[in-house]
Amino acid sequence: MTSLKRTPLYEAHVKAGAKIVEFGGWEMPIQYAGIIEEHKTCRTMAGLFDVSHMGEIDVKGPDAFKLVNRLITNDLAKIQIKQILYSPMCYENGGVVDDLLVYKMADDHYYIVVNASNTDKDYAWFVENAKNLDVKLENISAKTVQIAIQGPKAEGILQQLTECDLSKIKYYWFDYGKLGGVDSIISRTGYTGEDGFEIYFSPEAAIRIWDKLIDIGREAGLAPVGLGARDTLRLEARLPLYGHEMSSEISPLEAGLGIFVKLGKEYFIGKDALVKQEQEGLSRKVIGFEMVGRGIPRSEYPIIKNGVKIGWVTSGSYAPSLNKNIGLGIVKAEYTALDTEFEIDIRGKGVTAKVIKTPFYYKKEEK
């Protein structure tokens, strides 16, 4: 067995009483005070997340744009410097390698943020596709700490630690700023369905910045949030998780990520397969459902209609903000209409569920 990796914040989590679990080759905090409490803290006040396990790949050089744009399904030409693009990245057959964020640092410089457990695979995929291109690739994951501060109070708390005017950073844009004196990339992005920021800086400052944020945020209700609540938060907001809603077996179109797939682009890897899928019509799609009967849907539980398996649950949980049991699942196209009922096979028992509108949760608009 390979040894598990720890983020530079590991000691801070242990000190805070976190329960630590293995996740994607990392020892990560799954919870501190409890998943439900942390979830609600993030929705109503603010949560602080250590997401340093995420991978970062630096792409630089005259062919950087060309490389990135042929790897992603979204259109890199749409964004300006200091803007961020979300995109799936596909194989030739339309299956997903990973989903990622592209930060545009300069016309010839991009910063890619990928899922922790896919970092090595993704980096290899970049390298393989960069042959004959004039581009320099570097896996800078180990040199980068990423923390997220999310929730309605996030901006007010973070602003106390930086001169950078956070109100000027729009959704899916970033800026450079000093955070407690440390050079950082500050972006208005997240994976919770709340307003908030993701911040990147070097590992030496990790514990100091983390402790400082906890300290200045305490009054506003800031608390650390583990991976358990990160998952329930993203599920309520219907944000997909690689390996669940999309994978090498589930295309971005099937996953419902069509708006991030620009089939009009001249070329990207997987385009032919996805154009074909689109033309022939999708045979299955990811939908959101809620349990009508009593029970909690879990990943991989079969979805049944009239005794026949029509799909499976890709993610499911009790939803703390809704006090309901909800899930995402991939089902045959004829069962995707709103209000369609089917059964989730929970330990051999069919429990009724019905297709509902997603996102399950919308953040409350201010003003």
């Binding site: 799954i30 998943i35 439900i36 358990g228 009593r294 909690i296 009790y318 049991n325």
Partner: protein
């Protein structure tokens, strides 16, 4: 939290309170702490029969499902209906209001296989 001295225990972190030929069954405070927030409890039908070691109920926390194995065999004569609306009673009061079911024991000899509070305490200490 201390494990009550008047109960018997299993290695699966269940407790048993013997009341004559009946046994009240629940999960220990250590169990609820390992599971985290309990959000659903699937209870068996009263009247159904289970052998010792059979899975009779399921406790679902936000993250995972845990089975409740019968420490002793017999017929279920009562289940804790309060858990339907307040599954978190297991977190709040694992040894009290968070009880799960009552069984009419078919073989009181099953009790011989259970752990004393000292044995259970040792088991937890070793697990940490």
């Amino acid at each position: 939290m201390e494990n009550p001295k008047d109960l018997k225990y299993t290695k699966d972190h269940e407790w048993v309170r013997v009341e004559g030929t009946k046994a009240v069954i629940g999960v220990t405070d250590t169990a609820q702490s390992l599971m985290g927030d309990v959000v659903f409890v699937e209870l068996p039908e009263p009247g159904s029969e289970y052998g010792a070691g059979d899975a009779a109920a399921n406790i679902e926390s936000v993250k995972a499902v845990s089975e409740v194995f019968m420490p002793v065999g017999g017929k279920i004569i009562e289940v804790n209906m309060e858990l339907e609306d307040s599954p978190d009673l297991i977190n709040k009061d694992a040894f009290g209001e968070g009880w799960i079911l009552v069984v009419e024991m078919s073989d009181p000899g099953d009790l011989d296989n259970l752990l004393s509070v000292e044995e259970y305490g040792k088991l937890i200490a070793e697990g940490e």
